[in-house]
Symmetry: C2
Subunit: 331 residues, 2 copies
C-alpha cells in the first residue's frame, strides 16, 4: 500500500521512487510483476523448502542517522543474509518495507539503491517487492527468502553432547567499531580505527557456509546479539552446556594487540554483538570436512570447544564470572 493522504509530503512520490530507484533491483524477474501488482510470487523447486526471516533496522537503534546510505544498505541486506545462513539455506530473494524520513532525498535513494544493486549481484538475490511509507524515522524492514532441502533446516535445538563448537571469522571487531563511533573508546591510529569502524559498518557473514555445510551442522546461530548470549541459545536454552577454550576464540590480530596492551576489556568482546559470524555445532567426525571447506572457500572457521551435559557455559583459561551475557534483550 502506498501511504495515503494522511502522510507527510516530501518531494518524492512512490511512483518516482519505484521507477527511478527500485525497478532495477527486480533483476527482470517476471514474478515480481515490475512492482505493478500488490505482491509477487515465488515458485519453489521440487524437494526444496522455503525459509523466511525478517530483520528490521531502525535509525538511532541499529544505525546512526548520518551513516552512509551504502552502509545502511549493506547492513540491512547482510544481517538478513546472516539469518538465512544460520538456517543452512541459500538466499534467493527479499521484500523490503522502506519507512522514509523527511531528510531522504534523491541522492540518498540513488546511493542506497545502487548499493543494494551491488549486494544483490554479489549474493545472487533479487528484490521481489515491498512497501514505501513516510515516517519520522528511517527504517528498513527486510523479509528474506531462502531455500533448503526439504526437512533440512538447521535448528538452534539440534546440538548433541560431545559435538564440536565452531565459529567463523573473528568476533569483537565490530563491537569495538561501534564503541569508537559512540565515543566510548578512542584509538589514535587512523588506519586501525577505520578497520574497526568498517567492521561495524560492513559485516561479512560467510553466507555460502549455510548451503555448503548444512548437512553436517547439528545446530547453528548467527552471532548478532553477542557471542555468550548466542552460545546460550544453542546450549543452555535446550538443557545442554558447553566447554569453551578461551584461547581458541578467534580474534583479529589488531584486536589481540589492543587486548595485550590492556587497552580493551576482554569481557566486553565476549558479550558484544553485531558480528554476523556463524556459531555452529557438528559431530567430531566432521572435523576434516569442515577444515577442507574452510580452505576451499577461504572462510576462517575455528573449533573453540564442545557441547557437554553441564547446563552451564564453562570457560577454560578465563574466568567467566561477572560477565553480562548479552546486553541485548532490553528494548
Amino acid at each position: 500500500m502506498i501511504p495515503n493522504k494522511k502522510s507527510k509530503k516530501i518531494p518524492l512520490n512512490e511512483f518516482n521512487i519505484i521507477n527511478k530507484f527500485l525497478k532495477k533491483l527486480n533483476f527482470n524477474k517476471k514474478t515480481v510483476f515490475n512492482f505493478e501488482n500488490d505482491g509477487a510470487s515465488i515458485t519453489i523447486p521440487k524437494g526444496k523448502e522455503l525459509v523466511i526471516s525478517n530483520d528490521t533496522l531502525i535509525e538511532n537503534v541499529h544505525f546512526f542517522k548520518n551513516d552512509s546510505p551504502k552502509s545502511i544498505a549493506l547492513k540491512s541486506i547482510r544481517t538478513n543474509l546472516s539469518d538465512i545462513m544460520s538456517m543452512g539455506a541459500i538466499p534467493i530473494s527479499y521484500s523490503m518495507s522502506l519507512s522514509l524520513s523527511k531528510n531522504i532525498d534523491n541522492l540518498w535513494l540513488r546511493k542506497f539503491s545502487n548499493a543494494l544493486y551491488q549486494e544483490q549481484k554479489k549474493y545472487k538475490i533479487y528484490l521481489i517487492g515491498g512497501d514505501i511509507v513516510a515516517s519520522k524515522v528511517l527504517s528498513i524492514s527486510i523479509t528474506i527468502f531462502g531455500l533448503t532441502n526439504k526437512n533440512k533446516n538447521i535448528l538452534r535445538s539440534g546440538a548433541k553432547i560431545n559435538d564440536d563448537i565452531w565459529i567463523t571469522g573473528n568476533i569483537g571487531d565490530s563491537h569495538l567499531g561501534f564503541k569508537i563511533l559512540k565515543k566510548k573508546e578512542t584509538i589514535s591510529n587512523k588506519k586501525i580505527k577505520n578497520y574497526f569502524i568498517n567492521s561495524y559498518y560492513f559485516p561479512k557473514p560467510p553466507v555460502i557456509i549455510g548451503n555448503k555445510l548444512n548437512k553436517i551442522m547439528t545446530s547453528a546461530i548467527d552471532i548478532s546479539d553477542g557471542f555468550l548470549g548466542d552460545l546460550e541459545k544453542i546450549s543452555i536454552n535446550f538443557n545442554k552446556g558447553s566447554t569453551i577454550f578461551a584461547d581458541k576464540i578467534p580474534l583479529s590480530r589488531k584486536l589481540k594487540m589492543l587486548i595485550n596492551k590492556k587497552k580493551l576489556d576482554y569481557k566486553d568482546i565476549l558479550s558484544g554483538g553485531d558480528d554476523y559470524q556463524l556459531l555452529f555445532t557438528s559431530s567430531p567426525i566432521n572435523e576434516r570436512k569442515i577444515r577442507r571447506f574452510s580452505k576451499l572457500y577461504d572462510v576462517k572457521i575455528t573449533k573453540i570447544g564442545f557441547i557437554d551435559s553441564s547446563k552451564k557455559l564453562k570457560f577454560i583459561g578465563y574466568k567467566l564470572k561477572g560477565i553480562k551475557k548479552s546486553y541485548t534483550h532490553k528494548i
Copy 2:
C-alpha cells in the same frame, strides 16, 4: 534480530513479549520453530505457487496514535489480506515486524495479540515469526503469504476490451469515517457517525473472493488508494480505458442519504481511499457465475461498467472533470 544495546529501554523485553503475547499466534505449527530460530519455513503443496505481499502501517500515517490496539491489529491484518485477495490467492500465514514505541505496555500488547489471535482464527492464518524493535513511533510491518495455483496469479495488466468491471461491497464509508475522525466532517447522529468510523477502523475485504473467483477474473486490484486512482491502475496504466455508470457505483444507504442531503461531496467519495474492497474485470460471459457466487457467499458484487479502448476514464451520469484521481501518491 532483537534490538541491541543501543535501543531505548522500555519495561518489556523481547523474551517476555514473545512468550507472553506472540507464542500463542503460531498455532502450534512446527515450522515456525516456536520463535526459537531466526526464521521459519513454508512447504508449498504441489502445483501451488507462493504469493507474497507486504504492507506497513505506521502511527500518524495509517492510524491515529490513540487508536485501540484491536483496530490497529485488525487493520494491519486486513490491509494485507486485501492484497492477497487481489492476487486471487488464499492467505496462509504472515510474518510481522513490530516497531514498538515507549508507550506500548503489557495491556496494549495483550489486547493487540488477542485481536490478532481472533483474526487468525477467522481467516485461517498463523504467524510464522518476525522481529521486535524499539522505535520512536509505533509501526507494524506485515509480510503475508498466500497460495495460488501455479501461473494463476491475477495481474493488474490482464483486463480485456469489453470486460465487465465489478466492485465488491460499498465504497466511501471508510473515507467518510476518516474525515469524521480528522474533524473535517461533522455528523450529529451518533449511531450514523459510529457506523462510518467503524468502516474506517474495521475494513472488511471479502477475502474469499480471491480464491473462489480467481479463474474468471482477468485483472483485479484492492481499492486502498481511492476508487478512481485504482481504476486507472487496471485500465489507463495499460493503455485501456473504462466506461463507468455513475449510478451503479455501490454506496451504502447511509452514505447515499448524506449525499442526497448535499451534505457530502460525491467527488470525494470517488477518490477517497481505505475501502479494501475488490475492483476486478471479467468477461461478460461470467456474469451469471459472479452473481451466483455473490448470493452463495453473501458478498455484495456490483457491475459498474466495462473496459474500452478509449485510454480514458469515462463516466456516464456524472461529470468527472476536476476530480483528483488519487491523493495518495505523495509521501
